[in-house]
């Protein structure tokens, strides 16, 4: 049933301090809303449990994308359009720029925000594996102060995070140390435009003298949370890439992921595709490293 707007309240403090004051005074009462691409879908369907919303769209402190010598700091309400059109993001963080271009159509990219995607915590979100492989760090703020949390520790279970009820994601920092890496990302869905992934891999790596020096792998839609493949990475470090390795890679990966059958795919298909994508990435890593 369609929601009745008179049952809901939406306030616009217009500053970060104002938003945090509300969250601090009544921590469980307020649901932050930025571009509305998740919240308004639930609202329109009459399925939004929260009746009190606080507007982040007009909070300038959350909109900035700052470039420092060693990192970039992305304000939580930077939109997908602003990310994919940003020169440094496109050049140094192509996995994030590409994922931004996959997230909905242009209208949703103009409204959907990176912080919103993180807080919504869908394991199928396409930008989240990219944040995992780039070693993103989140700044969480409340009136109590701020704390930094490695993004890989943010999700604790399906739609569960370490964010306290009075806290807000303020920004996402990415270290600028991956420019020499070979990157790979591929989303497998029912079609290219506007389809939610069945499996999505973001990967980057570096080879010297034919040996893997560093490799980061993260998958979406194969577990209750966006998943960094720590054990598969450990297996690959200091190895030479050869097809004889691929069987072990697939077996290790299967131990790490926890895919399910749902409306979009099956656990069996996801497992097979996840292995294929990692093997395809290793092929690209070999080919591009040989060329350079």
């Amino acid at each position: 049933m369609r929601a009745d707007p008179t049952d809901y309240k939406l306030v616009s403090p217009g500053s970060l301090q104002g938003v945090l004051s509300l969250l601090s005074a009544e921590p469980k009462r307020w649901l932050p809303i930025a571009g509305g691409t998740d919240v308004m879908v639930l609202y329109s369907a009459g399925k939004l449990p929260n009746r009190n919303l606080v507007n982040l769209w007009n909070v300038p402190e959350l909109r900035q994308l700052e470039v420092f010598p060693d990192r970039i700091r992305i304000g939580a309400t930077c939109t997908y359009s602003s990310l994919r059109n940003h020169a440094i993001v496109s050049r140094e963080f192509p996995l994030l720029a590409t994922a931004a271009s996959w997230t909905g159509g242009i209208a949703n990219q103009n409204r959907g925000t990176l912080g919103g995607n993180i807080a919504n915590a869908s394991p199928a979100a396409d930008s989240l594996p990219a944040l995992l492989v780039y070693d993103a760090e989140l700044t969480l703020v409340s009136l109590r102060g701020e704390r930094r949390v490695p993004y890989r520790e943010f999700h604790t279970g399906y739609k569960k995070t370490v964010l306290a009820p009075d806290e807000l994601i303020r920004d996402i920092s990415l270290p600028r140390r991956f420019s020499g890496y070979v990157t790979y990302t591929r989303k497998v869905g029912a079609r290219n435009a506007q389809a939610i992934s069945k499996v999505c891999l973001a990967a980057l790596g570096r080879i010297a003298n034919g040996v893997i020096q560093d490799v980061h792998l993260a998958l979406g839609s194969v577990a209750p949370i966006p998943l960094r493949l720590t054990e598969t990475e450990q297996l690959l470090i200091a190895k030479k890439i050869h097809s004889s390795l691929f069987g072990t890679v697939r077996r290790t990966l299967i131990q790490e992921i926890r895919p399910i059958d749902d409306i979009r795919s099956t656990a069996r298909y996801r497992t097979a595709v996840a292995g294929n994508l990692v093997v395809e990435f290793l092929g690209k890593l070999t080919a591009e490293s040989a060329r350079s």
Binding site: L10, S44, G104, A107, N110, A193
Partner: protein, 165 residues
Amino acid sequence: MNPSHEARATSTVSFAVNGELRNVRVHPMERLLDVLRNELGLTGAKEGCGEGECGSCSVLMDGLLVNSCLVPVAQADGSNVVTIEGIAARSLLHPLQQAFLESGGAQCGICTPGMILAAVHLLEKKPQPTPAEIREGLAGNLCRCTGYTQIFEAVAKAVQPRVAR
């Protein structure tokens, strides 16, 4: 004020619509789409899916294409909104509208306002788009009649300089 009474309170939202300043007395969580259609009588934006998938409610907000079904009207306060009704210059159709007419880019017409606004947005960002860029620019707009070929042709036609036609 108790919470339920508070929630029922309306507020005034002021924004420019097609170049004209409008003040509307609304509930902050009303959808921009409903305010445009019901309060301002601008029925060009259509409700298709109501969940941001189909693009038939597309409008421009501060020059950016948005799905008006996903915008609480309070977030439009102080903004500049353009709907399909504001695209033509009086009786002179916008080049994209003319191209849609000439190419048969509209069948039932439900998707057409959103398609045209998505194309306006695209050509403002990329005045000479490739065919792939046209498809991407319109990827968030669905046509239930599946007349995509004529729609893409219409956009390509509008890109060509008027003098060359």
